[in-house]
Symmetry: C2
Subunit: 480 residues, 2 copies
């Protein structure tokens, strides 16, 4: 039974199949009947709720409020900023009928809401008093995926948030772009325990319609980079076609400066890939639906009663500390089966309570990620459990940072790069700034410029491809 | 200026226009470019967040967890329960293309998710151990509206939640239906301050596919009833076509028993209609985005400094109490303008701070709904503000209950009913239980059976229409 239930492939040998098995068998998600779409089961959605709550609190603290936009956007509106529209055109789902009637102007399912939001902003914003206007939308976006889809990583509908802010001054908007990126980074590192590289996208890779795009990139264990979220400076690229204008303090009409930014459930995919192991999911305590699972161990009816009583007592004590705790009281299942089951589901800390433990007035703690076991006396448990969870959170992050550092290297020789790119990873290389070099590298190696780090200056190097003077170091990788 | 900004019609004389002006001018919502769709601005969404938070906490306490379902449902799946499907068919938005390609099986935009959820449940549920399964989805539903649309009340896409639970036993499922209805009622009465009638829908009015539907009905000030939410007992009507089965403890395969239930942002519409007045919105403190607005009053620079300082001090004190407080520091606007503005937006309590008040060490409190003014000394303010807000919440609810009682009457004579129905309201009348009488009443008066109260028994009366023996009293009204 446990062979069928557990993960049947190793992470190292068949990463893609391993990933799918973890997603499905840990019951985070399942496939929907339409190809390329998934559903979230309660454990998967609970992780999204943790991410959402964390970001939402941070957004509200910096004056961002939430709103709601419908999913249907008229074709005429979507096409108003032409460059932007052409970027999404092949991916748009079109509604052509309602009931048995044809709709006039075709309706797009929201691939992103810049056009809809800004057509409204142009009505709402009149004076400098109305600025800044900072609204976020927790919704989904729909982009028909032609490439192979993968739960959380690439699906035709995905949960995300999209923020759209409007400012009177250019520098204020640019500061907002960075503040959001920093907010994202903090949540991703502190809660999901994933280290990210931050910086700008190249002109080729930026969001269609943006002046520039800032990004966070993470490295997956299979050597492919994953874009973790982006924050765009839109300048006046949208405010001009959509006529988002305001009267300034001197009563002069001026176009506004704008930003947009988003992260999606892709973050959950990255978390699974980076922390998981051959036994299944590994969850950082801060986002785990259950942080502590208590497994009672008994073989006689007499022991059962005693052990279950103690388990419930511990549960109550830990819940009072604000922890998410669960006692596995399922009968007819062996402790061994339960251990495997909770390991598969990635619950960070297991507390084992058996009759011998009770005699010694202690329990056994087992960390999911390292399987490290410790005895803790019952009277100390209450005060030690939160420090242990903090330790786990830290250890998981440290090991992810180690992985990132192992998979990142500097490189300046193109032939060397070509031979090494097969094994994957991040490559920091000097670049001349010429898009032709960028395109040729992509063509020959499949690698993109994932990010140009903010602090990257390399005026003394030579472009990895053309050997002319470099302008900066960029981070190259193949990506999802 | 204030004529254009404020509400220009009276609630009594032109209810429909009054409602639309309040929604738009209090900046709760605006029209989207597609007819029949609206967007929520931050104040409107914030009210939805309050409702959502309140319900979500209650759901979680009774073991309901959240999940995510995509918006696209294949036509073949939607049609699997034929009666159900035919109920939605004329309202469905259809996706026929993605990019430039035609999709095979047409894709419906979710009108409700029974079919999608249960096709998944049939995979997820195998044994009695998997039950009960209780999942809720916070999403939107899409139903193309042909009738005149109205913000919050009737729109082609609306925010709602839909819960779908699965049980091993019939009576357990029926208990769940009622527990949910009670949960809804509590939130609607305690937070939105709206009294509701609860009971069952008639066979004619029940949800398509349900065994029976329980409902909450409220009375709007224009005399029309509004359905506030429904909780359905589905029996095995869906588990049979979707093959949702489980092995019971004796290893016998059995079809499950199901429920589904939902409330939408329509609740916000009801709240606006019932509590609002000629000055605009009136918000119950529990759901108001801002509970207390502090308006500083000054005419000299010297006073300005003193008054603003005190206002900020009060703001901090009240925020520490966990209240949502705002100081209106906008310069160049008169106190009178500000009073009107916050009245339009329905903020429950205004604190006026002027130089004369400071000399007397007091402030003036003004309740939005009654415009009642009280002086409160500064040293008592901190402890009096929460009792005052509780008082407001209670007074608003009491006045809504009074309205409901004024608009509800017993009736047994059909001619009298026909003459009185024009003025609107709820009419409690004996009914024989025959659908033909129900249909004829609807045809001749426009009134439906809105609800059959749970405690309604009237075996001694005579049907209001056919005069044969009645089975129960029902509540008749014209509705939205």
């Amino acid at each position: 039974m446990s062979e069928q239930i557990g993960i049947t492939v190793s992470k190292k040998e068949n990463f893609s199949e391993w990933y799918t098995q973890v997603v499905l068998k840990a019951e985070l998600a399942d496939y929907a009947p339409v190809k390329g779409l998934i559903v979230l089961r309660p454990d998967g959605y609970s992780i999204w709720e943790s991410i959402k709550d964390s970001l939402d609190k941070k957004f509200k603290k910096i004056g961002i409020r939430n709103g709601f936009l419908p999913v249907l956007i008229p074709e005429s509106l979507l096409g108003k900023e032409k460059e932007h529209f052409s970027g999404f055109n092949p991916e748009v789902f079109w509604v052509t009928h309602s009931g048995n009637s044809e709709v006039g102007d075709r309706l797009a399912l929201r691939p992103t809401s810049e056009t809809l939001a800004y057509s409204l902003y142009s009505k709402w914003i009149k004076s400098w008093r109305d600025l800044p206007l900072k609204i976020n939308f927790w919704n989904t976006a729909l982009r028909a995926e032609i490439k192979a889809t993968k739960p959380f990583i690439r699906t035709s509908e995905f949960l995300w948030q999209e923020g759209h802010t409007v400012h009177a001054a250019k520098d204020e908007a640019e500061a907002e772009v960075l503040e959001i990126l920093e907010t994202y980074k903090k949540t991703i590192e502190d809660e999901l325990a994933i280290p990210v590289l931050v910086g700008k996208k190249s002109e080729k890779e930026k969001f269609v319609g943006a002046v520039y795009t800032t990004t966070m990139e993470a490295m997956m264990p299979d050597g492919k980079a994953l874009q973790m979220g982006t924050s765009h400076f839109l300048g006046q690229n949208f405010s001009k076609p959509f006529e988002v204008k305001f009267s300034d303090r001197d009563n002069v009409e001026t176009f506004v400066w704008q930003t947009s930014w988003g992260v999606s459930w892709r973050l959950i995919g990255a978390m699974i890939m980076i922390h998981g192991d051959d036994k299944g999911l590994v969850l950082p305590p801060k986002v785990a639906p259950i942080q502590v699972v208590i497994v009672p161990i008994y073989y006689t009816d007499e022991d059962e009663k005693k052990v279950l009583e103690k388990a419930s007592e511990i549960e109550k004590t830990l819940e009072k500390k604000g922890l998410r705790v669960h006692v596995d009281k399922r009968s007819q299942l062996t402790p061994g089966f339960k251990f495997h089951d909770w390991e598969l589901r990635g619950i960070p800390l297991r507390v084992e309570v058996g009759p011998k433990d009770l005699v010694k007035q202690k329990v056994v703690l087992v960390k999911r990620h390292s399987r490290q076991k410790t005895d803790v006396s019952l009277d100390k448990l209450e005060n030690e459990i939160i420090p242990v969870l903090d330790e786990i959170q830290k250890e998981i992050f440290e090991s992810a940072k180690k992985l990132l550092s192992q998979m990142t290297q500097k490189i300046s020789d193109y032939d060397q790069f070509k031979s090494k790119i097969e094994a994957g990873g991040f490559f920091e290389a000097p670049w001349c700034g010429n898009q032709k070099c960028e395109e040729k590298i992509k063509e020959e190696t499949g690698a993109d410029i994932r990010v140009i780090p903010f602090d990257s200056k390399n005026a003394d190097g030579k472009c990895i491809l053309c050997k002319s003077k470099s302008v900066s170091n960029v981070v190259l990788a193949r990506g999802y």
